[in-house]
């Protein structure tokens, strides 16, 4: 039911754990299926230089969090804001339909983190 890429990111997740003194944090929970994820970003001159995550959730929730960190590192904030749920799913060669909404929260956490960061610096 999961693609090889999902399983790879689930079994060997990238960029896991806390990031000390992050510049931005996004935290998203989905009460329906219980998933919860926290995304930490280091931002230097409008560019995401580090990203880490922690996730309580199913294999899809962990894999989407992991691949998102890879996708976002090196991007400007403008570029990062353009990453969508669909982009995350596509980067994993697809997700089962029932997981598209419930466990694909990483892009939301990213947008939240960047928006938090912007409102803090205003």
């Amino acid at each position: 039911m999961y693609t090889d890429k999902v399983m790879d990111h689930f079994i060997n997740p990238r960029n896991t754990g806390d990031l000390p003194e992050p510049d931005a944090v996004g935290e998203i929970g989905n009460p329906a299926c219980g998933d919860m994820l926290r995304l930490f970003l280091r931002i230097e001159q409008d560019i995401v230089t580090q990203a880490r995550f922690k996730t309580f959730g199913c294999a899809a929730a962990i894999a989407t969090s992991s691949i998102l960190t890879e996708m976002v590192i090196g991007k400007t904030l403008e570029e990062a804001l353009e990453i969508s749920k669909e982009d995350v799913a596509a980067a994993l060669d697809g997700l089962p339909p029932e997981k598209m909404d419930c466990s694909n929260l990483a892009a939301d956490a990213l947008h939240q983190a960047i928006n938090n960061d912007r409102s803090n610096s205003d």
Binding site: M7, G34, R38, G57, C102
Partner: protein, 386 residues
């Protein structure tokens, strides 16, 4: 990679002796028992023997009926829909009492009848994950036609008080059906001791093949067939008899009962060993008192570790288990058991079931303990909530 199967409440390996018993009926003895020639005639004694094994296996009396069918889903549908045509449709008895713990084939059959004016009470388990006779008693009204309560729960292994429930039903003149798929082969099912009107079982839960099951109907209790047609099964279930399947379910039943003592000593010992090892993990919860459960089942909830993620991690290491996690179900609903025992929202997504069989070895349990510990510590390191 060596694989370890700890999902025996979902289905079981076919015992090699059962496979051997079936084999001739796929080769040279392929006759239809209804035929008048030697091909048909020669298989009949084997069907007779299978029936004897089934009657002995559940303690049915000669005058009771056992109808062979395709699975417990068919048996359960036959009971629920049969009761509708017999009673609910045309009498003032328009009420069924069942539980939230039942298999979807009971739940969905009942929901279907609700669309036809039937009232259904779905009892919620108490904080111990149990349904008590008192709860059933309080739910029965003058309009109740049927009580349907499983004998043992597939998720937790909890054994429900069917004997006490049967006494309540007898007292109130209400039919009792029990789905015994998780009970056969794990505990003594003796209908001479416990009076039920209908009982369903399925071979693949006790080391028989998939696609063959049985429905017990107590003597004098009527039930119209779901499948109409030929005179097979005394007119109670039409369709050419699956000879090999019937031989198999008979043999599997005999073996299941022959191994009951082993289940309650050796399988129980291995389950307890696994459970004791899991209980050493911090913040872990086992549902249901050990002595109230079938000897092969343990259902755990591990804080910070989502059930589906743990199942995939174990699968990656060759261990097959299952989860009641909402994330693994299409409806995304949390398991009624975890909700019932008062688990908080997060814990309701962490249930994992490990179920052993008489084929499970000590070595497999030792390796599983090692793998589960590793998986739990890996997933907890990733988790926001631990």
């Amino acid at each position: 990679m060596e694989r370890i199967y700890l999902d025996n409440n979902a289905t079981t390996i076919v015992d090699p002796a059962v496979r051997d018993a079936m084999d001739p009926f796929y080769c040279h003895m392929y006759g239809n028992p209804n035929s008048l020639h030697s091909y048909g005639i020669e298989v009949r004694p084997y069907l007779h023997q299978a029936m004897e094994q089934l009657y002995a296996g559940i303690g049915a009396r000669d005058e009771d009926d056992i109808v062979i069918n395709s699975c417990a889903t068919e048996g359960n549908n036959t009971v629920i829909l049969g009761i509708y045509f017999n009673l609910l449709k045309d009498t003032r008895r328009k009420h069924i009492v069942t539980t939230q713990l039942e298999h979807p084939c009971i739940r969905e059959s009942c929901r279907f009848l609700e669309q036809h004016g039937v009232k259904v009470t779905y009892l919620a388990p108490n904080r111990d994950g149990m349904i008590t006779a008192q709860m059933v008693k309080e739910a029965i009204t003058d309009h109740t036609a049927l009580v349907s309560v499983m004998w043992a729960n597939n998720e937790t292994g909890l054994i429900l008080p069917i004997k006490e429930i049967s006494e309540v039903c007898k007292e109130r003149g209400v039919y009792l059906h029990t789905d015994a798929v998780q009970a056969i082969g794990k505990l003594k099912v003796d209908l001479k001791d416990v009076q039920v009107d209908y009982l369903t079982f399925s071979a693949h839960k006790f080391h028989g093949p998939k696609g063959i099951g049985g429905l017990y109907i107590r003597n004098g209790v009527s039930l119209p067939p779901l499948l109409h047609g030929g005179e097979q099964m005394g007119g109670r279930r039409a369709g050419t008899v699956d000879v090999a399947g019937m031989v198999a379910i008979g043999k599997a039943m005999e073996l299941a009962n022959a191994h009951l003592a082993y289940q309650n000593t050796e399988v129980r010992r291995l389950r307890d060993k696994l459970e004791d090892a899991l209980l050493k993990i911090d913040d872990i919860l086992v549902v249901g008192k050990r002595e109230l459960r079938t000897p092969n089942t343990v259902y755990v909830s591990i804080r910070g570790v989502e059930g589906e993620a743990l199942i995939w991690d174990l699968n990656q290491n060759g261990i097959a288990a299952s989860t009641g996690s909402a994330c693994a179900s299409e409806s995304l609903e949390a398991s009624p058991i975890l909700t019932a025992i008062g688990a908080d929202k997060e814990l309701a997504h962490t249930g994992v079931r490990l179920s052993l069989s008489r084929f499970t070895t000590e070595q497999e349990i030792d390796f599983s303990i090692y793998v589960i510990n590793k998986a739990v510590s890996r997933l907890r390191k990733l988790s926001t909530s631990y």
